[in-house]
């Protein structure tokens, strides 16, 4: 238990070092299994290409929809791909394993390690090849926003709100993955999450107002995809930014609480 008495900084540093080791290992793995890495990268790009088709079809029908120009819509789709690339690279490979950990009792070997088990079940596995999706998304963002007069404050707010959005997506998805502690089989929950997140491909202004709030605060793909473009293109909305930051903190804390309660229920499959 002496580890628990380490200072906060020392603990953060230790976890960061382990994450770096996991990243190096993941890169080496991708370098070794090159065919698989190329396939993963190609699939990420193909998904972007096919995901872009409905967006392009909608843009060509009209010069502007609910205050959004075609190029801004492309930028939103780019932000969506950027966010999903980050999630698919760093978080998704972990959350999809949690029900396996619980069902097969592999969680035992994670719980006895001298690190935060929640952190290890969220960030241990990295899939570097999936990051090509993020890079392609970044290209779309640049294409969409090229020539717009972005203020430094707008860019900072955009980065902040993007980070909050990705953090909340991770937290919400983690909470759904923890359902594995309560129900026996729920592996298709990940399909449902990924399908719901595709709504972020379009600006939240396209949706009825009740769903808009849902997309910004609850299934926060709107916060990660629409708001950064909105802040850069249309100016920062400080109240909205504060709301997103606040709700991110609340959801992350609730996720921490959910993990503790769920873990108390865990009775180890092997004993």
């Amino acid at each position: 238990m002496s580890r628990a008495r380490d200072g906060l900084l020392a603990q953060v540093g230790r976890h960061a070092r382990i994450w770096c080791a996991a990243l190096v290992q993941a890169l080496k793995r991708d370098a070794q299994f090159r065919a698989q890495a190329w396939t993963t990268a190609a699939v990420a790009l193909a998904e972007i290409a096919t995901g872009l088709i409905p967006v392009l079809l909608i843009i060509r029908t009209s010069t502007g929809i609910n205050g959004w120009t075609g190029r801004e819509i492309v930028a939103v789709t780019g932000m969506f791909q950027l966010a999903m690339g980050v999630v698919n690279t760093f978080v998704a490979p972990n959350l999809t394993r949690i029900d396996g950990y619980v069902r097969e009792g592999e969680l035992d070997t994670i719980l006895i390690r001298p690190v935060s088990a929640q952190w290890l079940t969220t960030f241990r596995w990295i899939q570097p090849a999936a990051f090509t999706g993020s890079l392609a998304g970044l290209v779309l963002v640049v294409v969409g926003l090229w020539g717009s007069s972005a203020s430094p404050a707008g860019v900072v707010a955009a980065v902040l709100v993007f980070g909050c959005g990705v953090a909340t997506i991770t937290a919400v998805w983690a909470n759904l993955a923890y359902l594995a502690f309560w129900f026996e089989a729920a592996s298709f929950i990940h399909t449902l999450v990924q399908e719901a997140l595709t709504a972020g491909r379009y600006p939240v202004a396209f949706f009825p107002s009740a769903i808009r709030a849902l997309l910004i605060f609850v299934v926060p793909i709107g916060a990660a995809a629409t708001l950064p473009v909105q802040f850069v293109g249309h100016g920062v909305d400080p109240a909205l930014l504060a709301g997103v930051v606040g709700s991110t903190l609340v959801i992350v804390l609730l996720t921490r609480l959910h993990w503790r309660i769920a873990l108390a229920r865990y009775s180890s499959a092997s004993s």
């Binding site: 193909a46 096919t50 088709i53 009209s62 592996s187 379009y202």
Partner: protein, 270 residues
């Protein structure tokens, strides 16, 4: 001959019942999957309605769009197939061996699995679609004559056959190639767009109509919807002729590929 056919039918009945039972065990998971299935067209519907409200010029009516997106999940589920993946895997790891020595075809098992899962999926998906039809403004706008619905059913059945047989063809490629799952993943990424499951093909740019109207994926999802909504480009007869044509092409390809493949099969693990 008749006795053999009766035995095959009896085996099929047993395997079908087995698959329905097996699927029912995972009813919670399959319900989640069906919710995901209606979610995607629902998002498209909302987005396209916003575009229409903003004065977008598209060649179809609001009624067409609403009906299309409400029912496409149902058609997409009914005509889907996942056999390619499992067939390729059984060829690769030698699991196919045990079917080759049995007095029933591996395809009988695959087809029973397809129908069995769809039975449970239909029971879960249909109520979701009905709820959406009742809740969403606009609802369904179909002419609804019995003949129209029967033609729709025929188009759906043909689409099911095309998708399933196409899956046998691409799964059988595993006889010659060690890893076909990459190829199959590429196909399954393209299929939703080309089949009209994501966007009605009527919304595709007219410049590419020559391609979108002739490619086989159209007859897997879009064509049954076009029949129901009475929007078949070139007329019903021509459309059904095209669908039957693709069925014949894939049928012949499946028979040829499967027979040649079995000849070169070296039965891993035997």
């Amino acid at each position: 001959m008749i006795a053999a056919a009766r035995r095959q039918i009896r085996v099929f009945g047993r395997v079908l019942a087995l698959n329905i039972g097996l699927t029912f065990v995972y009813r919670g998971d399959f319900l989640l999957l069906q919710i995901a299935n209606v979610l995607s067209p629902l998002i498209s519907l909302v987005v396209w309605q916003a575009a229409l409200a903003a004065g977008a010029e598209i060649g179809v009516s609001t009624g067409f769009l609403t009906t299309y997106f409400l029912l496409v999940a149902l058609v997409n589920m009914l005509t889907s197939s996942w056999t390619a993946w499992f067939l390729a895997e059984s060829i690769r790891n030698g699991d196919l061996n045990k079917w080759l020595i049995r007095p029933a075809s591996v395809h009988l098992d695959g087809f029973a699995n397809n129908l069995g899962e769809k039975t449970i999926k239909l029971l879960l998906l249909a109520p979701l679609v009905v709820i959406l039809v009742l809740v969403l403004p606009g609802g369904l706008t179909v002419s609804g004559t019995p003949v129209r619905w029967m033609m729709f059913a025929a188009a759906v059945l043909l689409a099911m056959a095309i998708t399933y047989i196409f899956d046998i063809v691409r799964g059988s490629l595993a006889f010659w190639f060690e890893d076909v799952q990459g190829f199959n993943t590429a196909i399954s990424i393209m299929t939703p767009v080309l089949s009209g499951a994501v966007v009605p093909l009527a919304l595709m740019p007219p410049e590419v109509a020559g391609i979108t109207l002739w490619q086989p994926f159209r007859f897997m999802v879009s064509f049954p919807m076009e029949v129901l909504l009475d929007q078949v480009p070139g007329g019903l007869g021509f459309g059904f002729a095209q669908q039957l044509g693709w069925l014949a092409v894939f049928g012949v390809a499946a028979v040829v590929v499967w027979r040649l493949g079995l000849r070169s099969f070296s039965a891993v693990g035997a």
